[in-house]
């Protein structure tokens, strides 16, 4: 991790060149932020926190969002990237299903640059009960989800990757969504409407005055500074970590961490989401995400103490593969580039004192009513794809406390990047290079802010994912990037099949140049490569292992990175 020193070493010239004045980078304004008094402080920089911050800011509140790591490091960045139609929940949880389809349609409008309208299939295999298909379609209809039974032959035609043995198929409006982009777009809009956002700021405690929460005690992890920031309402949007935050405030929430592991394949085998048409079980969804596809998930209840351990086990990989090939047989021979895991924030229902009954829906707790604790709201449960609705519900609760009567507009107002609906790849192929088009795919209309005037700006840093020098500059200057891992989440640098082999040194060199800090960039590079290896390790065989060995040979053998970087006592903020 780059330490504070490197962060503050930006050349003044560069700060001027940031241009887009409303997008202040945090290091410039932290002192002001610390002195400010906010209407609302939102803890948690996942999709829910970002969505809540956007909604609050759009309703005219003075907002601060704090995140202990980088944005979207928790469950937001550790799921399937699936924009559910709701069909998955139709049979077991009609309420969630209805929420999903309604949010699904909204996100297609407001977040078009984060969404790929792939549609999805629910397939019945010979080992499944075809009778379930009827139950499923009926439940979808009740929830308002369009579900068309199609001929297996038609399913094979529209999605050639599907298991050809299938005996039934239903087409639903599933889609693929990029949660990193979605979160950043919400944060950008919040900031455009006056919100302040801080990453790498960990909540160490609450400012409590009798029975009222009046702010948060923060640790700036980049500088080691301890500060207090005051706000009239504090929103706990920390997902599974919300239990800990609630405890700091003196409230008790029982979370049930449900861990899910997933595998990323090197390229797309499918262009539609493929689900199994049966009761939800292990590894029954294959989602095309950007250049890759992802199979998942497993589902295991884990103790709350272990929620920070995201290592994927051998057994999980085995289960995912064994079930995955039933959906798409080609997965058996397709290269796996990474494995990862996330934790679903399931919450015990308040009306069940035993804590055994789990709510899968959205849970918004006003702790004043529940625990007699003023100025504190918890928003949890739900799903990444219902983040907007969760934000709306939480903001409604905040506004009720503050007497704000402004209406919610997040369902109709497009996110930054999605205002322009004319950006079509087919029109662009003549005018833009591959890297520029990839950037438009990622940033939508915001890609206009990426410099592309000269050869250097258009040079590719990440060749797998088509990330240019211009895009890196944009991300570093405008999207809260402190290190290479942040940069990866904003741009896809290092997310391709080489997992950072070629791009990480180029990106580190640019970061070092921007910050005039070579040592910091070297340490960052080493940390980034370690982080990439962590995800490759559970699937390190075949070509992924060859890839990793070549990476090691280049960085350790050839460049001697392990000689120049002191990794003892390295702070692991991932």
């Amino acid at each position: 991790m780059a330490k504070s020193k490197s962060v503050c070493n930006f050349a003044p010239k560069l700060i001027e060149s940031i241009g887009f004045a409303t997008l202040k980078t945090s290091f410039m304004v932290t002192d002001n932020i610390y002195k400010n008094e906010y209407d609302v402080i939102i803890i948690g920089g996942g999709a829910t926190g970002a969505g809540t911050a956007r909604d609050c800011a759009l309703r005219g509140l003075k907002v601060l969002l704090v995140e202990r790591n980088d944005y979207s490091t928790g469950a937001t960045g550790r799921n399937h990237g699936l924009m559910h139609s709701g069909a998955r929940y139709a049979v077991t949880d009609g309420e969630s299903a209805s929420e999903c389809i309604s949010e699904n349609m909204i996100l297609r409008r407001i977040a078009r640059h984060c969404v790929e309208e792939t549609d999805g299939l629910f397939i019945t295999l010979p080992e499944d009960d075809l009778g379930y298909q009827r139950t499923f379609v009926d439940a979808c209809e009740r929830a308002g989800i369009r579900a068309d039974i199609i001929d297996p032959e038609e399913a094979r035609r529209i999605e050639p990757a599907v298991n050809p043995e299938l005996i039934g198929a239903v087409r639903v409006p599933d889609a693929s969504i990029d949660p990193f982009r979605l979160t950043v777009a919400n944060l950008l809009d919040a900031r455009l409407h006056g919100a302040d956002t801080l990453n790498y700021h960990e909540v160490e405690g609450m400012i409590v005055n009798q029975n009222r929460i009046e702010g948060v005690k923060l640790l700036n992890k980049l500088t080691g500074e301890h500060v207090e920031v005051r706000g009239r309402v504090v929103v706990n949007a920390c997902g599974i970590w919300g239990q800990r935050i609630a405890e700091m405030a003196g409230a008790k929430i029982s979370m049930f961490p449900a861990r899910g592991a997933l595998l990323i394949f090197g390229h797309r085998v499918n262009n539609m989401v493929i689900n199994r048409c049966r009761k939800p079980a292990n590894a029954d969804i294959l989602v095309p995400d950007d250049t890759v596809c992802v199979i998942g998930t497993t589902s295991d209840r884990i103790p709350i103490e272990t929620v920070d351990d995201m290592r994927v086990t051998r057994e999980e990989v085995d289960v995912l593969l064994k079930e995955g090939v039933k959906i798409a047989p080609s997965l058996a021979t397709t290269r796996i580039i990474r494995a990862y895991a996330g934790v679903r924030p399931l919450v015990a229902s308040d009306d069940d004192p035993s804590g055994r009954s789990i709510s899968r829906g959205i849970v918004c707790l006003d702790h004043a009513k529940r625990d007699g604790l003023e100025g504190f709201i918890t928003i949890t449960g739900g799903k990444m794809m219902t983040y907007r609705l969760m934000g709306e519900i939480a903001t409604n609760a905040v506004c009720a406390k503050l007497g704000n009567t402004a209406p919610c507009v997040t369902a109709t107002q497009p996110l930054p990047g999605s205002e322009d609906d004319t950006l079509d790849q087919r029109d662009m192929s003549k005018r833009y290079s591959f890297g520029q088009r990839a950037a438009i795919g990622r940033h939508g209309s915001l890609a206009a802010r990426i410099e592309k005037e000269n050869d250097i700006d258009n040079a590719l840093v990440c060749e797998c994912e088509g990330v240019t020098v211009g895009e890196i500059k944009y991300a570093v200057h405008q999207l809260h990037v402190h290190n290479l891992v942040n940069l990866r989440r904003r741009t896809r640098v290092g997310m391709g099949t080489c997992q950072g082999k070629l791009c990480s040194c180029r990106a580190a060199s640019l970061m070092g140049e921007f910050r005039h800090d070579v040592k910091g960039a070297q340490a960052d590079l080493a940390a980034f490569l370690d982080e990439r290896w962590k995800g490759m390790r559970p699937v390190a065989w075949g070509d992924t292992l060859r890839e990793a060995q070549l990476t090691a040979a280049i960085y350790e053998g050839l460049c001697g990175l392990d000689q120049v970087v002191d990794r003892t006592g390295k702070e692991d903020v991932q």
């Binding site: 250049t291 021979t333 003549k430 075949g542 070509d543 060859r546």
Partner: protein, 419 residues
Amino acid sequence: MAERMQICNLSENNFEQCTKCSICTTVCPVAAVTTDYPGPKQAGPDGERYRLKDPAYYDKMLKLCLNCKRCEVACPSGVHIADIIQHARMRAGEGKRASLRDTMLANTDLLGTVANLVAPVANVTLGLKPTKMVMHSVMAIDKHRTFPAYSRMKFETWFKRHAAEHQAAYANQVSYFHGCYVNYNFPKLGQDLVKLLNAVGYGVNLLDKEQCCGVALIANGLYKQAKRQARVNAASLRQAVNMDHRTVLTTSSSCTFNLRDEYPSMLGVDTSDVRDSIMLATRFIYRLVDDEKIKLVFKQDYKRRIAYHTACHMQRMGWQLFSIEMMRMIPGLDLQVLDQECCGISGTYGFKRENYERSQAIGATLFKNIADAKVEAVATDCETCKWQIEMSTGLPVENPISVLADALDVDATRRANGL
């Protein structure tokens, strides 16, 4: 690990085996001279991932690829990089019509048939400055290029009139896929081969039906026509190899590579059952000598200094050794083997106005090496390399078969082989 799974990562075009080492880009002749072309790694395996997501990610700069296959030779992971690029071009070109210029350049046999009829006129006209200017400005065929001269008599005609009847007398029989260049432009090469093979006791036969191999059709996007011609050729090759039990010899490296490897990989026309029986004549002759099945006797007074240029497709097949070693059998020949460099012409690529400068830039190193070699002629197995080197260095370029035929003492050889 789940049983029998993930033993290999092999998708259709095996691009997953790419470890992004970038060696291919370092040997790419196009990437070396222009930043417009993203290089084989980007154009091939990297781009393919995006094209799987959305075909609209096709990069129009892929047309700069020469399909020289040097990337495939260099790849330590066995990725068919150039095939991936060609397939992407093929998919992007589906439903689009090739331009008149490309159609004309690609139809080497049609053009040849017409030009043969009026060869003297055609040769003069095509060489005239006003003709060149018109072709340059209207058809975008570069003014620096001269079309190879057309012969008055097709090789096929010559063969039928002067050679066919003697062939049955020989104990051994081979078939010959002469290709367009020999047929329409340069029958002498075919005549040299017949002379050579007859001298060592081999009779030569033409195929039942030979059409242009289609290498230029593929390069110019006329895939349907290429496929039709490939099927006709595949049937003739099968007849020769499987029914008549003859080896099919060739004198053009690109035709050979096309028949053996591009037919199945690019056009989906399977020639795997006859692949091993299609080979360059230099390889065939070298092996016969090496196995002591034939003897070659050379002229006593023969003395020449020649440089050998390895054509890209020759390198892809790994057969340059046969041509080189075959020529090294000639006692009076001082053979200078040049470093393997692309000459830049790549069939019809260099004829196009928009490619001319790039084409010459690619070949610059080769031309300099040839000049430094102080030779009287250059030998190579590819006719388009021949045109490019002749135009760019002023030196005559010959096929190794012609070099051998020129050095051969035919009567002595016949006697040595018991004829």
